[in-house]
Subunit: 396 residues, 2 copies
């Protein structure tokens, strides 16, 4: 049978990152292309104790159907934690639990966008979210990311000229892939522009707690007196991505529709996993754990930067991020970026070609994305050394 | 801010079942409206042992990111089990793991349907799936369900007159809500009609293993020499719904697109939970477990039928199902069905009004859906007794 696919899915390619990851499942390849948290950042012993306790004392709660909004106790835990932690949450806000933060992008797009509507994105931006928006037949308009975040002049121009823009997607902290953190001035400007033009902000903050230097900046959601910000929070980077538990804080009126969407998508998030997260918050010092993993990531970032400076020197340009998982490196104009990435794979190092993060991935860019959380320290040293050898082929 | 929702979500109401469930979270209400597996059907001790073992020996695999297709070992386990168990799987087929079977409906609709396309459904049918199709802006065409399944004459008429029908959604075993099992003749006819008209079949089989009498019939997917059937299998009824692990067997070309959709939806299904299912298959006798829970459901079905016959007698008509979770009861024409359901709630019994399962839930019907798996035996006895008291108000 010849299959006919929907328009929205026909144009959608498999995620370049995930395809590269699969191509490089060969364990001899050094994974600088991934975005995995460092395995030693997982609170393994705690999760083991918690899971055993849950399955001993409340197995039926863990194994039975739950409600689409999420496990009530975890919702309350998050509401109180995120208020203290990020000053997020007004009277009109509420919280739902989702199966990983990507589901916040999915449900936001489902409830706000008709086919052909526009989503305004930072350019470059996270390919997973871009593909999510594309999978609803949305058109993407890119706003360039600078070292201090989205160019707000371009944003204003886009808002002025795009009547069917439904929301602005931003990763304000240690943006994926650029590593950029949006300045406070730009956060405030973004908020006031969104308010002025009546466009929702979707704030995706998976990396916020992975700050390794500098002072934390207020989230955009913490400024939200007007009910215009949907906040996507994740436990993938501070606890575990494999559990697929994340959350959304947004005005109740929006969440009610997103919950209806979730009922029709995956019914609810795993009860066992929601209970594990809830018990982790109740019985362990999450803030101390976050401090601990910041130490792990600080070391890894330092190491990678040191290696890049030593092995690649002037061959690449990058802005050292204050946290997150990624370094965004610019190759010289004379270098064919995709050929460089291919040569790196031949040297057994996987990096992500930067065009994967563009609104139109046929556009060209000189950037590659490097990840410092997944590889071991040895992997960082050897991986960047191998990239240096590739660079040497260009007469570096 | 005044929010503007997408057309597809605006028309979608919260699931009547889930709303009723929430309204009746009062533990004094007898839950004949639910669709939960019987808690004593969960292999609690096995899951406890397995989870402890996984988190002891392979915690990083359980907590780290996985791939969108699913945990490779579980995929292989399912492919081999479902071949033996249901004779499902040809060379062109493959398997992906999803986060509950509803995600198969979600991904199928995403990859096959543009807004305005038609999904042909049994009428009545499972509200969760109907809402999923609606959430993509699909139009639903209903084909009446008879005691031996879908009316295939009406189906042919619909296929003839609906050029943009993209797939036929069917629950052939112990259909939700009607309890009907499609005869072999009708399965074969459905398959040949779908082939003739070039329309995919989406076969949803969550209850197939809950057969308590009669002989098992071949799944439609087992007839699929042409690559026209997408099969949704679930562990929610035989292992646990709270783990949110299910699977899809379909031609690889379809699955490749569905996997791209899954990447953009929830990235992948919980690794820990996939490993739990896989280890359960590897270390326990799943077929023996299925036999055991069939015994549990047989007793509960018997009990409910006995109670209905005693307490409600001629007041209701129903066809005793050969398995599954539901009894579909017809009230007398003289009774206002919704008023009856309301009176039942006042008597502290929750049942689902049948219109929730119609293509247009403003249409009227005399049916209510009763569930016999969730309530305790005492709940069944007292619940049906209370319904008898409501019936008595109508001069039964």
């Amino acid at each position: 049978m010849k299959y006919t696919f929907s328009n929205k899915i026909s144009s959608l390619q498999p995620s370049a990152i995930r395809e590269i990851l699969k191509a490089t499942s060969d364990p001899s390849i050094i994974p600088l292309a991934a975005g995995n948290p460092a395995p030693d950042a997982f609170p393994v012993d705690e999760v083991r104790v918690i899971a055993a306790d849950i399955l001993e004392k409340r197995p039926i709660d863990a194994l039975q159907y739950g409600v689409s909004e999420g496990y009530q106790s975890l919702r309350e835990t998050i509401i109180s934690w995120i208020k203290k932690h990020e000053n997020i949450g007004r009277d009109f806000d509420n919280c739902i639990i989702v199966s990983g933060a990507t589901q916040v992008m999915d449900l936001t797009t489902k409830v706000l966008c008709n086919e052909g509507d526009v989503v305004i994105c930072e350019e470059p931006s996270f390919i997973g979210s871009l593909n999510c928006f594309r999978s609803y037949g949305c058109r993407l308009k890119g706003v360039p990311v600078e070292a201090d975040g989205m160019n707000v002049e371009v944003l204003e121009e886009v808002l002025k000229t795009t009547p069917n823009a439904k929301f602005i997607y931003t990763i304000p902290n240690f943006q994926n892939p650029s590593g950029a953190t949006m300045s406070l001035t730009k956060r405030e400007r973004l908020y006031s522009l969104a308010k002025q033009y009546g466009v929702i902000i979707l704030e995706d903050n998976p990396y916020g707690d992975l700050r390794v230097e500098g002072d934390a900046l207020p989230t955009i959601k913490s400024m939200d007196d007007d009910g215009i910000v949907i906040y996507a929070g994740s436990f993938s980077k501070i606890l575990s991505p494999g559990l697929r538990v994340a959350y959304c804080i947004a005005p109740q009126e929006l969440l009610a529709k997103m919950t209806v969407g979730k009922q029709a998508t995956d019914v609810h998030t795993s009860c066992l996993n929601q209970m594990i997260v809830d018990e982790w918050f109740k019985h362990y010092d999450v803030d101390a754990h976050i401090k601990k993993i910041q130490g792990i990531y600080r070391k890894k970032l330092d190491l990678m930067c040191k290696c890049i400076d030593r092995e690649l020197g002037d061959f690449v340009e990058y802005v050292r991020p204050e946290g997150g998982l990624f370094i965004w490196c610019r190759l010289p104009d004379s270098v064919d970026m995709l050929a460089f990435v291919q040569k790196a794979v031949e040297k057994k190092v996987a990096v992500v070609p930067g065009n994967a993060f563009l609104m139109n991935d046929n556009d060209s860019t000189q950037y590659i994305r490097l990840n410092f959380s997944t590889p071991s320290d040895e992997g960082i040293v050897n991986g960047i050394k191998a990239l240096g050898e590739v660079a040497a082929q260009y007469g570096k």
